[in-house]
């Protein structure tokens, strides 16, 4: 620490004596930052979008000895309906007749979905889920289905084919670029902040940098590839660390620690997701824990700026609603079997009602909106019913309007919406300043630490898009938004080859949460939507928010089915499934 102190104060002195050097450094570094940011983000997105997320063939089914269907998912719906994975034109077959699911130990389990005419394995009526072995005959209606494993040769060919298809970018150039970015950023902050600069800022950046390298080296050691999403998240976190250091230098280290905890949570989510059965088993416990957290928040919560969404534990303030986001995805996602179980949906709806109810009482309108949007998307993915969806949305809008009547500060924020320039020093205070600062930054920004928006309340949280625009410029601000949107594109692409409905619903839910939250943050601060005071994932200064954002990223990683890309699939499990990994 003392060495650091000596180093940074030495640098500060040097810069103070050579003021022009600081100015020239900023003038040049601004362009370098933009160049690096474009390189990192474009490279990651390009790799995400052009590497295919190819389907894996897990087995074949033969129907009536004629048609061969490849099974490209772990979960397959058998029935007469045209959206079934194994569609059978047989009037004796129910629309959704049964499911054929591969479990994590590689066995194929058939479950009858209360079909009209029942199903038979080797002549025996199926009453409860039962394993189908290769060669067994599964009779649905009048159609015979035979399961055929893929041959060893085919497996090898598949593997080669997939490897050729799946060439994710090498992580090293991007990591190096981010590291240079961080180094230049620390120097820039030292120049701009002068006396306010503390060595802890250096420690914070150092910690993030170290964790980044350790994470990638460790996973590389485990022969994993595909780090695009993490690269984008590391980039966003770097920007977040910088805006936080600019507005609130002492808080940078906390945010860096939160990022480390978040990365741990992400890895944890991935590992837990390997075992779906375990995930399903702990659901009820999670519901109780999460509901307890929210209720504790209601009872012990501290009102801050109109919303009572904080609790203090031993001097550390946390926002329980942020952590509940991760649980919400776990509860909301469901495997194909569960989609046909009423009780599973009931649990999700009940949990959603608890979450929204608690948030409404707290007056945290923004977070409630995020949960609600996520609920709508997940419910639609599960049920696919538009009329229900419209009903839910209209009920929520009505409820939201009611809430407006009771919560004065929310009503005021809606009242000034699109009229902020008519009330610049009162209700439009934060938005007008965000817009002014954003415009001041131009495309390249005025340099990290050189902004003035940081002096406005909540600049590094609710208004952080303005801070990015002012200090880093519009290009980097748009790259940050693009990074978040690319997560959504990737989630949707991954569905096409998703192994289990659970992963894809979870990934879409998590991505919706991230996208909607970013939308509310960005548009709220720019008066395109009412200001609701939510955080920008990975960027805003907020420990719990940072942890939750990384946690949500875990669900996206789990849906990544590219060869060896996801830590949610253990290599050992693949081997057990009869595969040889190259």
């Amino acid at each position: 620490m003392e060495f650091l102190n000596g180093f940074t104060s030495g640098l500060s002195d040097f810069i103070a004596q050579n003021n022009d050097i600081g100015i020239i450094y900023t003038a040049i570094a601004r362009w370098v930052f933009v160049a690096i940011a474009v390189f990192v983000v474009v490279r990651a997105i390009r790799s995400l979008l052009i590497t295919k997320n190819p389907s894996e063939v897990w087995a074949y089914v033969q129907i009536d000895g004629i048609e061969n269907y490849p099974l490209t998912h772990w979960e397959n719906l058998i029935g007469r309906h045209k959206h079934c994975d194994i569609q059978i034109n047989d009037s004796q077959v129910s629309r959704s007749h049964g499911t054929l699911t591969r479990n994590s130990s590689g066995k194929w389990i058939f479950k009858d979905l209360n079909s009209a005419n029942g199903s038979f394995i080797n002549g025996k009526l199926v009453t409860e889920p039962k394993e189908v072995k290769p060669g067994d005959t599964l009779l649905v209606g009048q159609s015979k289905i035979t399961l055929m494993p893929i041959s060893l040769e085919e497996q090898r060919n598949n593997m080669e084919f997939r490897k050729q298809d799946t060439k994710p970018m090498s992580p090293w150039p991007s990591l190096l670029a981010i590291t240079i970015f961080q180094l230049l950023d620390v120097i820039q902050l030292n120049i701009a902040l002068g006396d306010e600069f503390t060595p802890w800022v250096v420690v914070a950046f150092g910690l993030l940098c170290a964790v980044m390298w350790v994470y990638v080296l460790f996973l590389k050691g485990m022969q994993r590839r595909g780090f695009e999403m993490e690269t984008l998240a590391f980039f966003l976190t770097t920007i977040g660390l910088s805006t936080t250091a600019s507005a609130n230098p002492d808080a940078a280290i906390k945010l860096a620690i939160a990022a480390v905890l978040g990365i741990v949570l992400m890895v944890f989510v991935c590992i837990v997701l390997r075992n779906l059965q375990f995930m399903k088993n702990i659901r009820k416990i999670l519901v109780i824990v999460a509901a307890g957290l929210l209720l504790a928040n209601l009872v012990f919560g501290t009102v801050q700026y109109g919303a009572a969404n904080w609790i203090y534990i031993g001097g550390i303030s946390i926002q329980p609603s942020e952590l509940v986001k991760v649980v919400f995805i776990i509860i909301g996602a469901a495997s194909l079997d569960e989609l046909f179980e009423m009780k599973n949906l009931t649990l999700f709806i009940a949990f959603s009602v608890i979450c929204l109810g608690c948030l409404a009482v707290m007056g945290d309108f923004g977070t409630a909106a995020i949960f609600f949007a996520t609920f709508v998307v997940m419910a639609f993915l599960r049920e696919g019913d538009f009329s229900k969806l419209i009903l839910i949305v209209s009920l929520a809008v009505a409820g939201g309007l009611l809430a407006l009547r009771f919560k004065e500060h929310i009503a005021q924020r809606f009242g000034v919406w699109r009229h902020v320039w008519e009330d610049v020093d009162n209700l439009g205070y934060q938005q007008t300043r965000t817009m002014s600062a954003s415009a001041s930054g131009g495309l390249i920004g005025v340099g990290a630490g050189n902004g003035w928006l940081k002096e406005i309340f909540a600049a590094d949280t609710d208004l952080v898009f303005g801070m990015i625009s002012e200090e880093w410029g519009l290009i980097i601000a748009l790259l940050a938004v693009t990074a978040i949107i690319s997560f959504a594109l990737f989630s949707v692409m991954s569905i096409m080859s998703g192994r289990s409905a659970y992963y894809t619903i979870a990934a879409c839910g998590a991505t919706t949460m991230l996208v909607v939250q970013t939308m509310l943050n960005v548009f709220g601060s720019l008066d395109i939507l009412p200001l609701t005071g939510v955080t920008f994932p990975f960027v805003s200064n907020g420990g719990t928010s940072m942890i939750a954002a990384w946690g949500l990223l875990g669900f996206l990683k789990a849906a990544d089915t590219r060869q060896n890309a996801s830590i949610a699939v253990s290599l050992a499990a693949k081997k057990r499934g009869g595969r040889v990994d190259g």
Binding site: I23, H73, N76, L77, H83, C84, D85, L336, A373, V376, V377, F380, L381, G384, V424, T432, R433, M435, S436, A437, S438, A439, S440, G441, G442, L443, I444, G445, V446, W452, E455, E470, G473, L474, L478, V481, I484, I485, A488, L489, S491, V492, I495, M496, G498, A501, T504, I505, C508, T511, T512, V515, V516, T518, M519, V522, F523, L526, I528, L529
Partner: protein
């Protein structure tokens, strides 16, 4: 699984909404970014709500104001400050059309690409087309009277003189509730005033084109006349009048009948053609629009409207441009104020240049009308009152309705080196030629002698 694949589009719709919102934001930023950036809370360029970058000079490079980190530094000369206050404005934005406020985005050097950033953070230097010494002369000539003086070069568009009175010292602006009425308005650009007899030029223009026997037309003025049972008065019984004499004497009775003969529709057409009911864009400042009401029935109100009374309201700048068009054969240069913008007070990045108006008056009619205006000077105002100036003019005395009159003097010089159109209005003056004329003379002499 196949079912779920189809449903994932909802995720894409959410993302699409995000992208559309971002595009909307970028659109807003392109359109309104300069207003946002020049908001007084922007600490890159404001200190305690005062702009702290940029400088404004007159056409000769005389400093009018320089914004520094310690506040604005104005010209040292009190007279200069007061005379130029409506052109320059103050750091509080009291005069909305003042350069400090209206051109703040140029002073700051804002643009979409670089925002308000500049390495030296010194802003830009704006050189106005104004001659601050001529403004001083105009202010002196106005003395304690309220009113306005405007002169511009109708070939290049440069506004040379622009004074509005009452003025004030921008160093110590009076509080808005204590300031005399009209203090914070640039009357030349932002007001509309009853024109009185100077409007007869428009009626004459219409008659020259629409009245077949106008050349041989005569009228005998007895000092008053009756229009539909109501009386129109003249200042004197002008006696036998032809078209030139009627204009030179500004005979109300003659014009009352002319207006009725021409009809409201015709007068409205000529007002529109002259651009008197539309607004000019002076480097982004929108001037006030004149307004007129020409009744369609032939009645006393139509007569008064043709004389420049009734509900006629004219914007001084637009009338001055009309004078320029008469001088210049039908079209005149659009007026502008920003002559030059310099970065680091060295590299020019914008030069004001001449952009012509549409045809405001037919060129034949313009030369006929110019002849009549010259006749006014010869017969009524006296060429000896304007020594050395090839001046063409029309005076006016407009009743205000409060017992006072606004006195006008407007016209142009036909002088290759000094192609200037001018307008002077003195509120509560005696007569146009007597009160406003000498002021016009002093200002023009000062400009021409340069």
């Amino acid at each position: 699984m196949a079912k779920i694949e189809k449903r994932a589009f909802l995720c894409l719709i959410v993302s699409l909404a995000f992208v559309l919102g971002i595009l909307f934001y970028i659109g807003e930023l392109v359109v309104d970014g300069d207003d946002w950036a020049t908001f007084y809370a922007n600490q890159h360029i404001y200190h305690n709500g005062q702009l702290n970058v940029g400088a404004i000079y007159d056409r000769d490079g005389n400093l009018l104001v320089e914004n520094t980190k310690k506040g604005p530094v104005y010209n040292e000369d009190y007279e200069n400050r007061v005379a130029n206050v409506h052109a320059v404005g103050d750091c509080y934005g009291n005069v909305a059309t003042g350069a400090q406020y209206a051109f703040r985005s140029d002073l700051v050097g804002y643009n979409f690409l670089t925002g308000t950033y500049s390495i030296s953070s010194s802003g830009r230097s704006i050189y106005l087309s104004i001659d601050s010494e001529a403004n001083k002369e105009a202010k002196r000539a106005l003395g304690y009277s309220d009113g306005l003086v405007g002169v511009y070069n109708y070939k290049t568009g440069e506004i040379l003189c622009m004074v509005s009175s009452p003025g004030y010292d921008p160093k110590n602006p009076p509080s808005p509730d204590q300031a005399a009425s009209g203090t914070y308005i640039n009357k030349f650009m932002s007001s509309t005033i009853t024109p009185g007899s100077i409007f007869k030029l428009v009626t004459t223009e219409a008659a020259l084109e629409q009245k077949v026997d106008y050349d041989s037309w005569t009228y005998t003025c007895t000092g008053k006349t009756e229009i539909n049972g109501e009386i129109v008065h003249c200042t004197a019984a002008h006696g036998y009048q032809d078209k030139d004499a009627a204009l030179a004497n500004s005979c109300n009775c003659a014009y009352a009948h002319l207006a009725v003969d021409l009809g409201g529709k015709t007068l409205r057409k000529y007002v529109k053609k002259a651009g008197l009911d539309s607004s000019y864009d002076v480097d982004g400042i929108q001037t006030a629009k004149g307004s007129f009401n020409f009744p369609s029935e032939s009645n006393i109100n139509l007569s008064w409207a043709g004389i420049g009374q009734f509900e006629d309201q004219v914007n001084p700048l637009s009338y001055m441009v009309f004078m320029g068009a008469i001088a210049n054969g039908g079209e005149a240069a659009m007026p502008y104020l920003v002559k030059d913008i310099k970065v680091e007070n060295a590299f020019s990045i914008h030069k004001g240049k001449a952009v012509m108006t549409d045809e405001l008056i037919n060129s034949n009619t313009a030369s006929l009308l110019a002849k009549m205006m010259k006749n006014n000077v010869k017969k009524t105002y006296g060429e000896y009152n304007y020594p050395g100036l090839d001046i063409y003019a029309k005076s006016g005395t407009a009743e205000r309705g409060d017992g006072y009159a606004n006195t006008w003097f407007t016209g142009f010089l036909k002088d290759e080196e000094h192609p200037y159109a001018f307008i002077v209005c003195v509120e509560k003056g005696a007569t146009g030629a007597g009160t406003a004329g000498p002021i016009a003379n002093r200002v023009l002499q000062s400009l021409v002698s340069k």
